[in-house]
Symmetry: D2
Subunit: 309 residues, 4 copies
């Protein structure tokens, strides 16, 4: 039976992402308290996959995930899920808004509801918790002391799960916020091309090389490849030493992408392949004129003819 | 008298950054619980400057600061301070390591001591707090209930300030971690060029423009300008819509930088200037061959001669 | 009274170009036997302008003109004329095609009628002459010996001028062949911008610089400037040392072009400005999005505001 | 027995190039009056190779050769020869300089001795001839009328061949002038890589594509390939429509060159391969860092591992 790790507990947005992952039906779900923990279990072979957040339309890249994938034993992304981020203010049955003097939630969620809080609960103190779902769980059934807050900011699912009342819904400052989650696996299971694929790589620059990012981007441009995400991340060696986490349109089996990756492999200190997988939005790749597989194949045939001729 | 905001309370790394800022001598220090709060007070005219973290060599860019500077009323960076990040494990006098069952600290600090914790306190639970200094303060003098942890991860200064014992020092996983802080002010006070300056801008791409980052970087390259930091940040409009927060070598009064900024202003949807200021490391700018002010001035003189001729 | 030099004698395509140059009305026309001679007279002040060929749609750039303009005392192009190149086979009255055993003309003209000659006069010998008009003139009125050919390849105007019979017309292999002529003057008389202008420059690369042409072209691309002609010419120093003769859309008083020229001046060993002048076809310049003078002026205003702010 | 065509007659610089071509020993030499004639004979199978001039360090590219190779049935360059261009002024025995009232030579040679003529024989008329060797031959043994000149500008070998006196030697304006000749053959005989090779191609841009040359050069730059010659040539369709004749370092069997050619094949309207052959100067190709065959092979192995993994 398949075992899938996720950033838990139940009621987190990650658990909602796993709910909508087709292959999670019938799988055993194993909650972890951190991305690192979930990915360590995957690397150790304790689970077969892990659902983790990678990017939020408001907060940006999820550093813990980007960094955990960029180092350690290789892992690959095999799919992605988009989950709309909707926050509610939840409290024990009978609580009214005026009684809320402190609010518990994860610091990333707090950052996304600050406008609403400023307008409606300007005097409420903020109490950080391990996750939005933990804030709700602890309020419903304290594991130790009484929690030092009267309401939790969490996903609607977490309020339902823990039988909390919803005092307000849709309290996020950005109504259209979305978080992107990825299903990570051990190498050896790249999904086949679908025509609507994305590929994720991490590019490590050579130290001896000024103006390097421009040169890296030119490797994609020379083959007509479109980028959909670029994050710089410190390599942790020293201030100012970066690697780049990049999503591009296309599949590693596409000719143009294979050639671009070879080019990057040559000029980078290292290229870490993090998977080719179907896009959640099923949007087909934009192929630049004369950059299709047929164009590459025709050009290769022409070259071989010249070399043999 | 000058009033300077900072991300407090006393004992945070930010307060240490303010300690080492020369112009902070004799200024009134005003602690804020969030970067947003400190910058709002600056915008409102309640304070004259604000010291906030912008980048950590391990964790990367500080999203709250990058985003608060990139929108709202204009603010400019007028200086920067580098602070080595050294963590200690602090507890009340008499506590021994074996007694520590839970550890309180800010989530970013927790991310940086996980290796030590795994090795030495594998069973300790993690309790998130508002800041590393707050974890120490609450342990020393609880404001409400007894805190649910027996030790705090904080800066050495915080342990000293609150008369806590240091159970372990240098517990960060990266010994050379450094955080960069910036002193932010209202516009109208750009420091004069020193020859060892940095300029920070935020570049907003036009929506109708594929492959845009490459084009933006070429504007710098065409004038021989070196980048020292590039962060992509979501513009919060929709998933996949980014702006770029960029540090480059040089001062806005340098010819090459002025021309590059004009070029970017033309092709970007918007360019937000976040200041030119002396580098903390006093390292002079690398000027590409034939990109000095003298080269630009000579070229302009030549052009004017031709136009008049 | 104005004196205009041209590549003579009367009856050459250059004399036809001068015929169609509006300012040549009433001017004294002075024929020269070579481009070098005409330009030397201009440099010496003996004439006020010189009409010379610069580019042919079949034969390419005219090396003698390109090289004479690229060195020596500065001269500038102040206008251009396009002349369709139509060749006739001309002979003395009474000559029939079968009697033609040798044909006299300039080597460039010979290159352009080779197809017709191969088909219609396969056995005719070729006799090189100083110009197409000289071939006709010498046939009509030999200055010394009887010329060793019975027919001349020349412009229709030359046949008419010298009262020769036209044995065949339109004998060029390329029916749409056109030659571009330029009116050259001493510096100090750049025509004002018309919105449909062209600018000619010669770019000399620095020796110490690999991949230099790419870098030169990027200076134009970064300002959205379109090239209409590029010729590499040896600098005569050594095999493989080139300069580039370039035409671009726009006028030196255009902001985008001024900035591009300054950029080139900085990175090139030398930039030789050969004039801004109205296009013969009156086609307005293609201005890339956000590269108009208004865009540049707005960007400069913005920069000055920041520098002063 | 091998038959080799050349641009004759005996005594031309081309015949000197053939003298120094190792494989010409024992071959039958067939003189042609034009490059077109020599290459037509090669295409027809009448000869096995043809030696033709392609580039002069003073005059630039030889249009007739560039154009004849760029169209018609495919031919390939299999080798190159560099010949120093040294001109002498030759006359019949007994002639003295003062008696020279007219000078015969090819127009290209005339262009290269104009300085000397201006200084020493300012009043001498110029008489164009079919070649420098023909000028000498006709002076030594007139085929018809007495030639209308008393001295010829030609190669030292031509003076010797025709028993003419040398009135002056080294009369070229550029002492170090060199002409590059190529040995052309029918396809199917690309010489093997030597490590010091050159490859010649003609690139035809797509009409619908502005800024195209920059894009073509980037295909070379992205693979670290160095250009040694670039000539723009009209495609003869219309004024302003060009193709580019390009020499690059390396052999078509080099990985980096194969990939660049495939990229060009995709984005160009057409790419015409004109051969890979050993450099005359035996200078080994400059291989950019990480652009060696080993780098390409390693990158391909890495990619295949990922695709299969």
């Amino acid at each position: 039976m398949t075992r899938l790790a996720y950033l838990g507990p139940e009621g987190t947005f990650t658990s909602m992402a796993l709910d909508s992952w087709p292959d999670a039906d019938g799988a055993e779900r194993v909650a972890f308290g951190s991305v690192d923990g979930a990915l360590a279990a995957l690397r150790a072979g304790d689970v077969d996959g892990a659902m983790v957040p990678i990017e939020n339309s408001v907060e940006g890249g999820v550093s813990a995930t980007l960094d955990a994938l960029a180092s350690g034993d290789p892992l690959v992304v095999v799919g992605e899920v988009l989950v709309p981020v909707t926050f509610v203010l939840a409290a024990r049955a009978g609580t009214v808004l005026d009684e809320v003097r402190a609010v518990g939630t994860h610091s990333h969620a707090w950052a996304q509801v600050r406008g609403w809080m400023h307008a409606r609960l300007p005097d409420a103190a903020y109490v950080p918790t391990l996750s939005t779902a933990a804030a709700a769980a602890d309020l419903a059934a304290p594991t130790g002391q009484e929690p030092p807050y009267q309401a939790a900011v969490c996903a609607p699912a977490a309020a339902t799960l823990h039988d909390l009342d919803v005092l307000a819904e849709g309290i996020g400052d950005m109504q259209a916020a979305v978080t992107r989650f990825v299903l990570v696996a051990r190498p050896g299971s790249t999904p086949p091309p679908t025509g609507a694929d994305k590929t994720t790589v991490v590019l490590f620059q050579r130290d001896d090389h000024a103006g390097g990012l421009l040169e890296l981007l030119e490797q994609f441009a020379a083959r007509g490849i479109n980028l959909t995400r670029l994050e710089s991340r410190p390599t942790k060696a020293s201030m100012g030493s970066y690697c780049f986490s990049v999503d591009v349109e296309g599949h590693i089996r596409d000719e143009r992408l294979g050639e671009a990756l070879m080019g990057l492999k040559r000029i980078c200190a290292d290229v870490r392949f993090l998977g080719s997988y179907p896009r959640a939005d099923r949007q087909r790749a934009t192929i630049a004129p004369r950059a299709s597989d047929a164009d590459f194949t025709a050009a290769r045939g022409w070259l071989h003819g010249l070399r043999d001729g």
